[in-house]
Symmetry: D2
Subunit: 341 residues, 4 copies
């Protein structure tokens, strides 16, 4: 059994990791850490785990944990993981960081968007950006995987073939993304008070969200990214807009390119013509659904992607990464059927 | 008192008209028509009107009604109003049509998008497009007002100053609109079953929604329009994307243009810098809130508008139109404070 | 114009008071107080008031306010109002307290349920329990009105005729009440985080909620009260269960009693047989809807009441109280039509 | 592998069965039947199954299916299964009926509550009521299992120990149950239109719901049962009220009785003192959580149970029944961790 520790287990990403790892046939949760809840029963915080997880939260100590487990999942606010992860630790344990600290290759861009100094710039080169379908070979060898953000996973997967194959005018890309409220995390603020986000929709951090440089890094182009908050638990839908370079391209042409990229990927489902993703079709699962439409009147293309922000957008992909790193079947433990109801 | 009739009163737009007109100080509801519910108490269908509206639904008969009331509100599916409205009727009664039949000036475009023959093309020229803030003077004289669609009201108001003043590259306009479920109307289909639209988001009728030509007619440019369904009762948020023509334009420049257009409009609120519309701030009201952001990195602009689809997007604007047509204060009866909770 | 001040205006009850008073034809909001937001624009906190309320929040000073306004609405956590309200103040200003401090006639019961000393027990006798339909005559003369709680308004109104007329076995009363999330107030805690109360239902404070003694005081009987949290913005539904004293009583008998109590009350709607309240039929309004069913198989009765917790359950009833205290038509400013959509 | 057929697979119960059986290690779905969708891809109806289930819906033919599969799951409206199931069929195949036809032992009571003739009364004696924790030994031998209703499973499990051990006054039992909207099934009607059940709560079929006689049959007492509709996808919470027979009973006494009944049951979690069930703690799982509170002031007890209506309340319990019937570990394929987010 692969011994795992979840560092920062009481956030939503941590909860979802615990849920997935509990049923993973070849992994076990050895430690659950939490600073705020140290000493408390994990199942007293998340009572869904009543009679399933009997462990207490412990204070996190990366040094000690790295001697005792095979892989550390780190689910911490940005700026903390890069303080704690040292080269010496990576010699003892594999790390999958679900935070933002190792996703950007450029220290400057990180410091500019996150407004803080990066404390381990020497590891940026080593860290592998853990978008499984794109970096599988590197992930196999990695000691440190930077698990992608939720908006980024959805946006990159949706746009990648079109950008890489030169189908769209890269000066005209707009991403309008919508996320359920779990994407905002567990911290309390008026914006996540039920009474103030239910029955409403808003855009926020317009052209200023920290997932922007991550998308740009992987796509290699500049984009305008606008996230929205939707009154639902989970799910991300990204509508990606651009002008086609060649207006004679047909749906079949574009679809063919997408099938070349994703046809053999278990977790990517390119949808048939005139069918578009809905977040309910991927809820609770590790799938990324992608649909597309050419607007012949304007020569524009609309690409739509959907994921579950807590699964493919965070914890599911993290376990997929673990599977790749440990030579297991990628689908192991993360192959649940979406719960559309 | 202005005598009114609501034709097709049992749909959501009709219900909202009844709600507003009930409290209008200078109008009264003389007739409520419904084919399916003729003979039934209106308050037995919408029990919010219990002890408020005591009328029964009657079979609609435009001829008769036109002799008995001062204004007809028609809230019918497309293709019906244009069969019923004749020049002779317009000599007797003012008509505010909340359906689609008289919004498009071009019979060809109507027939192409609605897939049906237009039965009263001779009235298309006379009908005034009832976007109050834009057509106020014509509405004053109108006999037949075509009340704009919900998505269109929001999208046109949000984009109009930018397009008309030549601030944006009109070849790059994308409108990503999100609507609450009342926007889909009262007809039953699996897409509005609670269990199949709650906790999910989807785009639909991508680049194929019938509000598209209406937006294009009023803005005078081609656009890509993509509507989404949001699990909430009411509200529309339109995010409008485009490239700025001149990248040196600042927020202050754009804001100034918007204030010139809307600064004196009671029902339009241009938001201060870095504050963006949320549908809850306009819920239940006739306001249209507009915010904007320049993405300096890409030279793009994001314009966001919000309305209540049933009020400014339908029945509220219809009553605002009635007020204008009858020489009343535009705000009369439609000046309720948004209910943010 | 009646000059009013809203003390503690940034909670949900305060917001709703502001919304109602803004459109009251004979009252005006002279002061809006808030400790946390003093100096800030009220419309910057609740942007629905953008261009409607231009006042800033001020620090609350009851002494000063009592010289400047005609009526103080106090919307504060329990234990504060009773510190601030002095007999000398009541000689200058009328007070409607929306908190809990003056609702219970017994200082002992207050101190036992609220776990704190009552700081103005000498005012308990003077304070009038402001359940308008029940205490109208006393309210007319009152200087200090204790506005009832939300659950209590709904539960008392639903049960009162049955209890007072001796129709039910008062040893068998169970109240199962359900409330929307605004009832929990604006304070942040995990229980109101969207992600932790959406898509779930729970009972809480079972047989321990502080509205219990208030219900018992007014009904004069002991009851078991169990509140539940429902994933919706607003609304309370109380299902009240009891054994009938006389199993030969029919629906018509009970209905007749209810009509005697409420038939002439504008804000109480006793529903016809086999029709039951739904919170949407009263949403945004000051109505209390009541329905009933006799279970002939068991000799039990089920009485169901519905109100909007923020209107009839708080701010609407407070304004209704103001109207009574100032000799106005009770309905003035609080007669909006429920918004069922 | 156990070969299964899902008869009536396009309802919500059928979808959930498909979801569970797809991941069952020792069962496979051999046939999916649907009258309305015969010939169509199942994954075209429920796109969550895209690339997971490749079968088409077929017309149901019980005779043929009984030759080809080991177990039939029947998810049909009442009155149909009892027409189709014949003794001869039961000699060839095991049947788990998720409808109502074989739950009631008394033909008279069935016909009275369902208003229709029972077409296979001779099978009522043989059919085993499939409440697994209660009838395990009989289920092992059964050919025909009547899977209990959702409200009934929750209510019976919550009340059973208290009733059977004579702890409560059985003349005073009230069950106030709340269900998510999937409980209403997939049929379209205005009551499940998002716009008409979202943001509202109502009681319905008060003291007249068809699950009532099922609860009474299993508990052996008369009860008043009142269901409510809650704006959420899934989950049932039953609050059960009664007077204690002996007011000196403590929480520990009652708890002890519940632990004797359920302490060794994998799928029943009796909660610790002062902790109560929330539907989110069981969502997506086969658990039934039970909490309790004694109201010392009144001598009443409140028992609260929670299940997922589609899992323990329908398809999960059906698979648990299959496991028991085929000698498998009861938990196989239905042991997923609740998804609280």
């Amino acid at each position: 059994m692969i011994k795992t520790a979840i560092v920062g287990a009481t956030g939503y990403v941590g909860e979802e990791l615990a849920r997935i790892l509990t049923r993973h046939p070849l992994a076990e949760i050895s430690y659950i850490t939490s600073h705020s809840y140290a000493g408390q029963d994990y199942a007293g915080i998340y009572r869904n785990f009543n009679r399933i997880i009997e462990q207490k939260c412990v204070e996190e100590n990366i040094e000690e944990l790295s001697d005792r487990v095979d892989v550390l999942f780190m689910a911490l606010p940005h700026g903390i993981a890069c303080k704690k992860i040292k080269p010496a630790i990576l010699e003892k344990v594999k790390i999958i960081d679900l935070g933002a600290d190792f996703r950007l290759k450029s220290r400057e861009i990180y410091e500019q968007w996150y407004n803080t100094e990066h404390e381990a710039p020497e590891l940026l080169r080593e860290a592998v950006y853990g978008l499984c379908e794109r970096k599988r070979e590197e992930i196999k060898e990695a000691r440190l995987v930077a698990n992608p953000g939720c908006y980024t996973t959805c946006s990159i997967m949706t746009l990648l073939p079109a950008v890489k194959e030169g189908l769209i005018d890269t000066g005209t890309i707009f991403i309008d993304a919508k996320s359920g409220v779990t994407g905002a995390g567990r911290s309390l603020n008026p914006g996540v008070h039920f009474a103030e986000c239910n029955e409403s929709i808003k855009a926020y951090k317009i052209a200023a969200h920290r997932h922007t440089p991550e998308i740009e890094q992987e796509l290699g182009v500049k984009i305008t990214f606008v996230p929205h908050l939707i009154p639902m638990q989970r799910g991300i839908l990204s509508a990606c807009y651009a002008k086609l370079k060649d207006k004679t391209l047909t749906h079949e042409d574009i679809n063919q390119v997408y099938l070349e990229y994703y046809g053999k990927e278990h977790f990517v489902r390119v949808m048939e013509k005139d069918v578009y993703p809905e977040t309910r079709w991927v809820r609770g699962s590790n799938f990324c659904d992608i649909g597309m439409k050419i607007d012949g009147r304007t020569g524009n293309i609309i690409l739509i992607g959907a994921i579950d922000n807590l699964v493919k957008g965070a914890s599911g992909q993290a376990v997929q990464n673990m599977n790749i790193m440990f030579g297991l079947d990628e689908r192991m433990g993360v192959d649940s059927v979406p719960t559309c109801l």
